[in-house]
Amino acid sequence: MTAIATTGTDVRLTGISKTYGSFTAVHPLDLSVPAGSFFALLGASGCGKTTTLRMIAGLEDPTSGTVELAGRDVTALPPYKRPVNTVFQSYALFPHLDIYENVAFGLRRRGVKSVKKQVDDMLELVQLGDLARRKPQQLSGGQQQRVAVARALINHPQVLLLDEPLGALDLKLRRQMQLELKRIQTEVGITFIHVTHDQEEAMTMADTVAVMNAGRVEQLGAPAELYETPRTTFVANFLGTSNLIAADVLDTSGDDILLRACDTKLALPATRCTATARTGEKLLVGIRPEKITLTHADDAASVPDGRNRITGRITQAGFIGVSTQYLVDSPVAPGLSVYAQNIERDARLAPGAEVVLHWNPGHGFGLDAAQSIEAGTDAGEAGT
């Protein structure tokens, strides 16, 4: 199979929205997906990501806006006339047809006469050549998933849409299939749009992730960018875990914004703050748990200068193999979480111990304090 070496935009959504009665599933939304990319729509269930995907597929009529595929307006086209294919949630394999016929379905509908070579090749690509004559219900979840991918890909769609394709698989298989899908995408070079509620899955596989919440795109970018500089509390909490500390802005004149939270002074590079900081107003300072170093209060003097430092007391310590997760209560903020790599464990770091939390100010990020500090914390849990 040859990689399609086109550049530019494959899918462009302009002002697309969907309402059901008085409920707005998707607010007017603009989105463009570059050709050949692996694009993920990430969000909790009910956030509008599946509806967006189905509007691209033509399975849902948008209330407003247009869908363009490779520059062609397809908004009015029914699904069977659109050059996109979908891998459905729980696969939707035809139970009355065997694997071979499932994969050949799209080709036959388009009047292709000799399908054997293509079907065999495709089954080879997904490593199911020997199961061609089985019925879908005789296959394991992982195998069914691969059939669903093969059935869609054989049509060389402009875009492959994947609706929670790994949701029904157990954790280990899911990890394996993530790599497998990534391999296939690289091999065929087709644009993939992947809907998922699993932030780890989105970050592992996608080049670009759009985080959706309540029918809107909260932030769009490369996984590392989203993780390192979230722009909203929702993204900060939904993608991984964040400690968010409310602080008063003291000074914005230098390269670093200076802040104060409960008599503790904090610094934050102005470039890492997406909100406008005004002296005397509030700001949320975010820091990822793994960026924080824990030092026992007795060794406080050994903490280098120039780092943000907070004092507190450990309330919980959970050992999870590669790291230990601590919960620390501090006057600055309750329930701060800290992940420490298990390299050299300090036996004094146990619940009740007084500690100093410190981090490089350049690792923090600043957010607008007007948003809910809790946004996205439940959503991540509910999704999985």
Binding site: L59, Y80, F88, A92, H96, G106, R109
Partner: protein, 265 residues
């Protein structure tokens, strides 16, 4: 506690269940046994002596086989009509949202919730008022009417349990709405449609009450049996009953064997 008592207690359900089964099967045994009877009078209610006369000459009684073939013809046409009409309604109910949905559901449910005699009398009233002469067509119309609801119920259950994503997947894979229906929806709904059709056939073939009101002087097989209960019951009735039973059981067994083998391969 003595052990037989304990055994009895433990197997109470099995014994009671098998007892019920015996109750269900007993009449069929009697029908079969008495198909080999040679009764003295006109009625075949008491065992006299063994004979295969009736088996060698099943159509030996006047009108019997004529009524049988009429019943079969009506059953085939009623099945066809009820299955087509019922399947369409079932698809509308299971796959589409529309106004008057609940009124339609009620209209489907009522014929099943009504004693046959009520439906029979009211339909006959209509025919009388219209001046329609009773016969093949009135029987057929009556049968389609009462089979319709059963088909709707059977097909709807099947279509409802079908994942709507299958049809979406077909459309996504370039199947036009018509192709989607023929290649995906219909094959998957087929077991429900077949079940509805078989039920229709059985109901129509065996119906007496509604036929009795709407047949005029036309005689179907159940009406022949009814009449014979007054005039005298020929042994041939038992022969036909036994043969039907044997053919049906054979069909079921063959279907089971074929189904089982297909599952294994």
């Amino acid at each position: 506690m003595t052990s037989p008592v304990r055994w009895l207690r433990r197997n109470l359900v099995v014994i009671a269940g098998l007892g019920t089964l015996a109750y269900l099967i007993l009449p069929n045994v009697i029908v079969t046994v008495f198909s080999f009877n040679k009764p003295n009078g006109r009625f075949n209610y008491e065992w006299q002596r063994f004979s295969t006369d009736a088996w060698t000459d099943p159509c030996g009684v006047a009108d019997l086989c004529g009524s049988l073939s009429l019943s079969l013809r009506i059953a085939v046409w009623a099945t066809l009509g009820a299955t087509v009409l019922g399947t369409m309604i079932a698809f509308a109910l299971a796959r589409h949202r529309f106004r008057a949905r609940s009124s339609v559901s009620t209209l489907i449910f009522l014929p099943m919730a009504m004693p046959e005699v009520v439906m029979a009398a009211s339909l006959a009233t209509l025919f009388l008022n219209m001046g329609v002469s009773f016969g093949f067509w009135t029987i057929l119309i009556a049968h389609i009417t009462f089979c319709l609801s059963f088909v709707v119920t059977a097909v709807k259950a099947r279509v409802m349990s079908m994942d709507p994503r299958l049809e979406q997947a077909a459309q996504d894979l370039y199947a036009t709405p018509l192709q989607t229906f023929l290649r995906v929806t219909l094959p998957i709904a087929a077991p429900g449609i077949v079940a509805g059709a078989l039920l229709s056939f059985a109901l129509s073939f065996d119906d007496f009450i509604i036929t009795n009101f709407n047949a005029g002087s036309t005689v179907t097989f159940p009406m022949y049996v009814w009449g014979s209960a007054q005039r005298g019951t020929p042994v041939q009735i038992n022969v036909i009953g036994t043969a039907m039973f044997a053919v049906a059981v054979l069909c079921v067994l063959v279907a089971q064997l074929v189904g089982g083998r297909r599952k294994r391969s």
